[in-house]
Symmetry: C2
């Protein structure tokens, strides 16, 4: 099974694909998120893995926009812990390291490490996994990279220090996308997890519009696990809401709630039902 | 008035400070967001400007966390359009440009530009404004930077191409923070804008907890302009909500709503009342 993702081989998205589909799925790298979606629409790949939110950086609005623009099904989710490792070519010892290459976001998430090792210079690079690839190919003297363990493994790098990130509570949530109508998949270990349903709806912001919309869930004792509002571009006072609830869209209670919500919202779309990660 | 911000001089945060306080406020650069907060607490600066959400990238959770950790007052907000310009040293013509330095996020937001000019190589750099500073100091042959017009002005760069970003609907919202109890400020042109109040509260996710909490606003016809949930770390099924409503905390209706919300929430904090941007 071919699965598109954004980034270089060894990116955290590839880790997400392993967690979602096991080691036999074939990751297909794309440069941009819209290219990931286009690959799935054209049938070049059978699925796509998409980061949707991070515990430190928040929801990726750009990807919610693409979910609305295209019409795919969320068939699974997973959560990847973002672990940063110091990776060098075999033969380079920690004491030799003078320059560390990585994406600036990764460099910024390892500030305590750099404060403790002031001899080491930070050098921004395009991509975390790409920085390992470059260090292995070009072997800059005293050079190392910050990247995932998977990137070290793929490019043959050696991990000199593990888990050098400042904050261990750094997780990214990924969706698996498949063509509309696809059945949910159950990643390894998720068989007993509750069902979750993701939806998007919009309301005009007359006072209490969201309150009334939520009544469709609350009056049926449905549990909400995420809600986020976003102003609709070019339409002042109209809002889009991303919402996740516990339950499968085919359950009677959920079906009724969605019908009721549809009566009150200007627009409603169910993005998929899948096992909670 | 000294105002701390994260980044180099010429960063979009400095533009925010100008919009919030005029050209006479003195921007004080800090490397990290927590250093921005620490500078305000220690009295090294009198205020701080903080990016809190972006139309493409979402809310900056890290900064909401810092707002909760420290106890400052939001006294104003502003919205900065993120415009990327191609900037070079005087004497470099557009036809000479072979390498463009900038933060990878900025480079990624100008992909159409790079597709149209395939001779130009993208080189990741630490910071957008910092890339202009470097190009001006080191004058790499055929080198240019992508940054704000303000960065070009500060470091004496020339703008070769304006507005080369793919998506013009790229805005970042900033808060002005001052010591607890400070009065709201009215940025130029915001005098007739409605009041807004930002708050954070938490509830246990028993079904309908958010619905009940929102009743405190809806039953008083208060308008909600932002809501976002976030799982509480280490406390499964408990959620933090960021909420913005229209109105000032001293208005009777708002005061009553906050009192009522406080009865239902496990925790509630008002972050400030200020003029909407």
């Amino acid at each position: 099974m071919k699965v598109a993702f954004q980034g270089e081989l060894g990116a955290f998205s590839q880790q997400a694909i392993r967690q979602l589909l096991g080691p036999r799925a074939k990751p297909i790298a794309r440069q941009r998120f819209d290219e990931v979606f286009a690959s799935l629409r054209s049938g070049q790949v059978e699925a796509a893995a998409l980061p949707i939110e991070n515990t430190l950086a928040g929801s990726v609005h750009e990807n919610y926009d693409l979910l609305l623009k295209y019409d795919f099904e969320i068939t699974a989710e997973t959560s990847v812990r973002i672990v940063h490792n110091l990776v060098a070519a075999p033969g380079t010892a920690f004491g030799d390291v003078r320059q560390v290459f990585s994406h600036p976001v990764a460099l910024n998430q390892c500030q305590d490490f750099f404060s403790r090792h002031k001899r080491i210079e930070r050098v921004p690079f395009y991509d975390t996994a790409g920085s390992v690839k470059m260090v292995m190919e070009q072997r800059p003297a005293g050079g190392a990279a910050i990247a995932s363990a998977l990137a070290a493994q793929i490019y043959g790098g050696r991990i000199l220090k593990r888990e050098i990130e400042d904050d261990r509570r750094n997780f990214t949530r990924f969706f698996l996308l498949e063509p509309n109508g696809a059945k949910p998949r159950t990643p390894r270990g998720a068989g007993r997890k509750p069902w979750k349903t993701s939806l998007v709806f919009s309301t005009r912001n007359i006072p209490g519009a969201l309150f009334r919309a939520l009544s469709a869930l609350a009056l049926r004792d449905l549990n909400l696990v995420k809600i986020e509002s976003r102003p609709l571009r070019g339409k002042p006072w109209e809002y889009l809401f991303y919402l996740d609830l516990l339950g499968h869209r085919d359950e009677k209670r959920v079906r009724n709630a969605l019908g009721h919500l549809g009566e009150m919202a200007d627009f409603l779309r169910v993005l998929g039902s899948y096992r909670a990660a």
